[in-house]
């Protein structure tokens, strides 16, 4: 395998936000956004960290200059704010 091929295989897979929500259900994820829609909203990205605790995600991505963090999955209850 070439060096660039090895680097490519080491990179996380590019996923849609729906795929990320399905694969990392009920976990916090940190994503490198690779594509946005006309709204400027993320549609594709690579998951670089995931954890059940949102504070652990911060520790894992402390040195990232630009990262998208969100909760993947259904919320456990309805909010009434």
């Amino acid at each position: 395998m070439s060096q660039s091929g090895a680097e490519e295989s080491a990179r996380p897979e590019e996923l849609t936000l729906s795929q990320i929500s399905a694969r990392y259900h009920d976990r916090w994820v940190a994503v490198e956004v690779t594509r946005r829609d006309r709204n400027g909203q993320p549609v594709l990205g690579r998951v670089v960290a995931e954890d059940v605790d949102r504070y652990n995600i911060r520790m894992k991505t402390m040195n990232a200059a630009d990262i998208c963090i969100f909760y993947a999955g259904e919320l456990p209850f309805r909010l009434h704010m």
Partner: protein
């Protein structure tokens, strides 16, 4: 396709939008934020405010009240947060500078990190269509 001059989303169970925050240290963090016109301030977790270059939100001695701390009422009762000015807020193609935020740790079981309150929304026109289940945010002064 040119970018839209507004941000559109689905109301779903909660109206949310991805928001990019640029801190004082030029670090960028993006979050799925709850659009909450009932909230006076925007809210960000303390750890994120710290990573975005606002170390004053984590004082070494918590017994000493900060000059920029604010007491507020929330759904969990009275609480105290630290007021900061976020250097830049990007909502899709809409940008704001120096937006008032409160650094405060909302419960992580809620599933949101950031609340977009009126300190950001006051510069936008927010339309909600409960028939189609969509909302639209556009900057004041933008063509409808």
């Amino acid at each position: 396709m040119p970018p839209l001059p507004s941000v559109e989303g689905m109301l779903g169970r909660f109206p949310t939008v991805f928001v990019r925050l640029t801190g004082r240290n030029s670090v960028v963090r993006e979050y799925n934020a709850l659009v909450a016109p009932a909230s006076e301030f925007c809210v960000i977790p303390t750890v994120d405010a710290y990573q975005l270059g606002y170390p004053e939100v984590a004082p070494s001695d918590s017994r000493i009240p900060l000059h920029n701390s604010k007491t507020f009422a929330s759904y969990t009762g009275y609480a105290r947060g630290t007021a900061i000015k976020m250097a830049r807020v990007d909502l899709g193609t809409i940008s704001f500078a120096d937006v008032d935020f409160l650094a405060y740790d909302i419960m992580q079981t809620i599933g949101f990190d950031v609340v977009l309150g009126r300190s950001a929304l006051r510069e936008t026109r927010l339309g909600q269509d409960f028939v189609s289940g969509t909302f639209r945010l556009e900057r004041l002064g933008a063509a409808p």
